[in-house]
């Protein structure tokens, strides 16, 4: 039975989320009773609704957390609130199948695919457009080396799958809507968040009201842009790289902006594409990812001036620039070295991809969507958790898109947090408690930081055009291509099967 309650209130729908500091801590908001289920305490009609978990941000990762909680027997009885500005969230999203793919896509790794299968969302994704790929080729403009990866190297069928973001989001939402989880969606933005220190409830009588519980530090209070207040034991910040929850909780971040912007768009070929291509150019990599039905997605990183030029140039010129970038421009093709490598005895069990020739990517013939541009940066929250607050996804870590890892880290966060919550409930812990949240942080933080370090390192190495460094990169390409144990390790790390690059 569909138990989603969508509050039909007037909302502030803005295109960009503007950060606003908590300006009002006035407790006496008059709220209308919401009608959401309450299992334990009876509520005073003037109290705000009380939930176990409030997920701020209804994007892919926030909804994934809700879906993961809904799929576990220990957590599926929880009361979850989802706070997101998007008024379309919660309505039955009908994605028309005839349209060309949306340029916002994500590559999901095999580890994420198994997480999505666990939550039950994968069967919905399979009904929509999605594209598996089992080969990958990476090279650069200097033409000195290339690396090819094949899923058969690690005895798998696929290296990953490319899915549109809206498909990922709507399929998880369908899972949540069909589950027994008590959920309420608030289409509003978060304005303020409040938490008080714990104190005793003595003297409050049998059933303390929500406001009393908040005043005694057992609940966090969230004030929304439509004037309502929501109370929750745990607030999860899944609201992206400019996270408001993170800001309101006072969690500091480190990071820097890359002086690069990325342009994304959908393009079309005349042939099917089953390989993921990435070429590192002097100003940044260009990636071509198959989406299915002869469409591919382009993610092209470059410096801001070029980016705004390329965004505004006409279609024909843009297509020519893309083909140049992928194929003929900037430098020669790497040579396919002969498969009879004199060092084959050294490299041991040679993987299939080692023998593959260098291929040129399929030619782009048509631009099928608008070109979108956004700036790139690296950001990492110093803490993932604080009292009654946990951060997941981009709000905790923002990375460069060059390896397609960003949202996969976010899904891994959602998986780890729901696991920590389930373990906490099994052992009778209060879900807002610090120890439980610290376990989640201890699991995800090292893994995320390691991945960020690797990606940042790659980004920096490729941003310098310097002879000896080019040769070094070429040697790295050759190494990754020919040394099979290293290649298997790289694939398994990038697939999410391995959390840390070195010691796991």
């Amino acid at each position: 039975m569909n138990r989603v309650l969508v509050r039909k209130l007037s909302t502030n729908v803005c295109g960009t989320k503007i950060l606003r500091r908590a300006c009002s801590t006035d407790v006496s908001h008059q709220v209308s009773s919401s009608g959401s289920n309450e299992s334990i305490t009876k509520r005073n009609p003037t109290d705000g609704p009380q939930h176990d978990i409030a997920i701020v941000g209804g994007g892919m990762v926030g909804i994934a957390l809700a879906a993961s909680l809904a799929s576990k027997p220990l957590t599926k009885h929880l009361d979850v609130a989802i706070i997101d500005n998007n008024p379309l969230l919660g309505r039955k999203n009908i994605i028309e199948k005839g349209n060309p793919p949306d340029p916002r896509v994500s590559t999901v790794t095999p580890a994420t695919i198994s997480f999505l299968k666990d939550t039950g969302a994968w069967k919905y994704i399979q009904e929509q457009r999605h594209a598996y790929f089992d080969k990958m080729q990476v090279w650069d403009y200097s033409g000195l080396g290339y690396t090819r990866y094949n899923a058969n190297d690690v005895h798998q069928d696929v290296l990953g799958c490319v899915v549109e973001n809206k498909v990922l989001q709507s399929s998880q939402l369908s899972c949540v809507q069909e589950s027994d989880l008590q959920k309420t969606i608030y289409p509003a933005r978060l304005n303020a968040m409040d938490m008080l220190p714990s104190s005793s409830l003595t003297g409050l009588g049998e059933v303390p009201s929500t406001t009393d519980l908040f005043m005694r530090g057992r609940l966090a209070k969230l004030e929304l842009s439509d004037g309502n207040s929501v109370y929750a034991k745990l607030v999860v910040g899944a609201d992206g790289s400019k996270s408001q929850v993170r800001e309101l909780a006072g969690i500091k971040t480190t990071g820097w902006n890359y002086s690069q912007n990325a342009i994304i768009c959908t393009v079309e070929h005349t042939v099917e594409n089953y390989t993921a291509w990435q070429r590192f150019l002097p100003n940044g990599p260009i990636a071509l990812l198959p989406i299915g039905d002869k469409f591919s997605n382009i993610v092209w990183t470059m410096d801001p001036k070029e980016a705004s030029d390329r965004k505004s140039m006409n279609e024909a010129d843009f297509i020519k620039a893309v083909n140049d970038a992928l194929d003929s421009g900037y430098g020669p093709h790497p040579e396919t070295t002969s498969s009879r490598n004199s060092l084959s005895w050294l490299t041991g069990n040679v993987t299939i991809s080692t023998k593959e020739r260098f291929e040129t990517p399929p030619k782009v013939v048509k631009l099928s969507s608008e070109r979108m541009m956004f700036p790139l940066s690296l950001r990492h929250a110093k803490d993932y958790v604080s009292k009654r607050v946990a951060l997941v996804g981009d709000s905790a870590h923002t990375v460069h898109p060059l390896a397609g890892q960003g949202v996969n880290l976010g899904f891994a966060d959602a998986c780890a947090l729901s696991k920590a919550i389930a373990e906490g409930i099994a052992l009778g812990t209060d879900i807002g408690e610090a120890n439980l949240l610290k376990r989640y942080e201890a699991e995800r933080k090292p893994a995320n930081m390691a991945m960020m370090a690797v990606l940042d390192g790659i980004q920096k190495i490729y941003s310098v055009d310097f002879g000896p460094l080019n040769a070094l990169r070429a040697a790295a390409f050759h190494g990754a291509h020919y040394i099979s144990p290293l290649k298997k390790r790289i694939i398994s790390y990038a697939s999410g099967e391995q959390a840390l690059p070195l010691f796991s």
Binding site: L74, P208, N435
Partner: protein, 323 residues
């Protein structure tokens, strides 16, 4: 040499004199083991005092040596000890304070308790509140570290402790959450509850028996509180060389996790002794597990190693014959 065979040990226990010592460091007694385990004389002085925290150990020693025959626990407890203990009682819920080892151990022992009791009562372990409708008692509850999670798992929990301050702290903390405010806390002893005729589906006495003057009587009280075919869980520290090295020397002197004098090595019980005492009290020990501390990760793990900390799960026999 001491621990080669349990039999030798028992003989020694029966023949040895009561050890009187108030020095802080207690070396492993080579020939002085007091007859805590097998004194059959009077039950009053022993079963009456059931303190929950570690600090009242000295109290018991001095009390036993005073040969007091008082049935009430509170009046015979050493006031100095109570004061010292009351000062620390506030820190029950400080996870970095003197009770830090218990806080670290709590999730591990809760995991064992949850799985054994779910099996015992045939409840679904993947349910969030598997113990709905069951009555549990936490003997020596202290600040309620164990009682609160059990209440969150759905049980109707009663917590008792002989030290009033502990009960007050437990009550204050439990009232902070509507789910745990239903816990009944009382400043009383197991024996008094037996006199009142109360019974429970499961009786838990974790880290208590090493502080009791008469463990045999204590086990009898626990058994009397359990309904036939009910569950009894008891955890304590083994009387082994390893336990001396870790629980006393390392914990109290090197790492300073616990105040000195918290534990008396001679009061520890071996698993065989615990099994025997429980058996004499009509409780059959079914499972035993140990807790092992990993200093690198800072976590406790459940293991088969019962040489230091161990927990025993037993069921009360349904035929109520005399022991």
């Amino acid at each position: 040499m001491l621990f080669s065979k349990p039999m030798n040990q028992l003989q020694r226990l029966l023949l040895s004199a009561r050890r009187v010592s108030s020095s802080p460091i207690t070396p492993p007694p080579s020939c002085l083991l007091h007859k805590r385990l097998f004194s059959t004389s009077d039950t009053d002085a022993s079963a009456a005092s059931l303190p929950s925290s570690h600090q009242t150990v000295q109290t018991l020693e001095s009390k036993a040596s005073n040969k007091s025959r008082n049935t009430s626990s509170t009046t015979s407890l050493n006031q100095d000890e109570l004061a010292k203990f009351s000062a620390i009682a506030d820190t029950w819920w400080h996870s970095e304070g003197p009770f830090k080892p218990l806080h670290l151990m709590n999730p591990t022992r809760l995991a064992f308790i949850r799985s054994t009791l779910c099996r015992h009562f045939s409840k679904d372990p993947s349910s969030a509140r598997p113990f709905e409708g069951l009555r549990f008692i936490d003997v020596g509850c202290g600040g309620g570290l164990l009682s609160e999670p059990l209440a969150r798992m759905g049980a109707t929990v009663t917590g008792v402790d002989a030290v009033d301050k502990n009960v007050k702290i437990a009550r204050l903390h439990a009232d902070m959450d509507p789910v745990t405010s239903t816990i009944e806390y009382q400043c009383t002893t197991a024996e008094k509850l037996v006199d009142e005729g109360r019974t429970f589906d499961a009786v838990l006495a974790l880290e208590v028996i090493e502080h009791v003057a008469n463990p045999a009587e204590f086990c009898k009280s626990l058994s009397a509180l359990t309904i036939p075919n009910g569950a009894t869980l008891l955890s304590t520290i083994n009387r082994s060389m390893r336990a001396y090295a870790s629980a006393i020397v390392a914990a109290e002197y090197i790492l300073r996790w616990l105040p000195k004098g918290t534990h008396q090595w001679s009061s520890f019980l071996t698993p065989e002794e615990v099994t025997m005492l429980l058996q004499r009290a009509s409780i059959d020990v079914k499972e035993m597990a140990g807790f092992v501390f990993n200093p690198i990760t800072g976590r406790w793990l459940l293991s088969d190693d019962i040489s230091v900390n161990f927990i025993a799960y037993g069921t009360k026999r349904s035929d109520l014959g005399d022991i």
